[in-house]
Point group: C2
């Protein structure tokens, strides 16, 4: 990223790409700093210098796989009543892409297998996906509403792409959006989410 | 289970308990037939004789952790309008139990980490949890409705117990049931789930 990459930037990018590959292939537990360094053809000390610990690299790879900046701005620019449905579709469109799905699947599986990985996943999803969504809402319990949507969407990703449960996994994307869109819209802009429970609690 | 266990039954039970422990501790990939045999103090051939392959033992451990027979009959005996909420509460009550949660968590994490494990998880959840729920419904699209509920509940388990996302993870159980109960009831007994998509498709 940025202009005029020197040799240092180049190696940093190689490390990033190696990490993306390895987490998708081997999961969180199966990926080591040394394996990332070997694949990037650099010294492990350089990996540590640029990124610190394994969980910090993993956090970067989660961002890389989800790229909220690639779909959230358009979604948030739309009308609030249709926000849920638009968010759902935009989020799933990345999963439907056969060029992106293996990476997302590797990251998602890795995120579930170890508590450290789960923590990084939670931070990225809460801070960079659900927080912008909550901020866009006019409802007072907006963070709770965004968390409800996050819960449903994680279940949908699990059922459709990870566990491949029938019939959710076989439906066309339009049918999935049709099936779940009303619920997501309702969660974001329907009646108050709940009486008194967790009102406006931070989504972090 | 059963009367008068002989030495053969006793070893079989030891194998089962060893498998439960190991999958919870080490996950699906990290558990081998040999490790199960070592922990049960039997020959690996005996593990194969009683249970066959690793995925068959894992399937048994999934059942062992969820025990649908311990809560489904009561839930299904209740009124259809409140079925969703009753199912949600009964399912989560097992997760709230500190004596059971580590086992469920180990099984859930294992189920996400490898495609073979995901397949066993899908078979147990679809066949032994969602199918009885679908059969209890009078709606024509009952299997699809049960699959919607399965999707939401898997998301809830992920958010609350695996990823520990705020505020879902911190809420009292009653608040969780209050937050999601309406959606689950609506999925099971509200208006037709969707127009034409996957009507009455088998939940297997």
């Amino acid at each position: 990223m940025g202009a005029s990459p020197g040799p240092g930037v180049d190696r940093r990018e190689r490390i990033r790409l190696a990490a993306v590959d390895l987490f998708a292939e081997r999961g969180f537990r199966g990926t080591t700093i040394r394996a990332i360094a070997d694949r990037a053809e650099v010294d492990p000390a350089l990996v540590m210098h640029h990124y610190g610990a394994k969980d910090r690299i993993f956090s970067l790879v989660i961002r890389e796989s989800m790229r909220p900046e690639s779909f959230l701005p358009d979604v948030l620019a739309g009308s609030e009543e249709k926000l849920g449905r638009a968010f759902l579709r935009a989020f799933l469109v990345r999963w439907e892409d056969p060029a992106i799905r293996p990476l997302l699947l590797g990251v998602f599986r890795s995120s579930m297998e170890h508590a450290d990985a789960s923590r990084m996943f939670r931070e990225v999803v809460s801070g960079e996906v659900l927080l912008p969504l909550a901020v866009r809402l006019s409802a007072p319990d907006s963070h709770l509403r965004a968390a409800l949507v996050g819960t449903l969407v994680v279940g949908l990703v699990t059922a459709r792409y990870v566990v491949c449960a029938s019939p959710i996994a076989e439906l066309a994307l339009d049918d999935v959006v049709g099936l779940f869109g009303d619920y997501v819209d309702q969660m974001l802009s329907g009646k108050p989410a709940v009486d008194g429970a967790g009102d406006d609690a931070p989504a972090g």
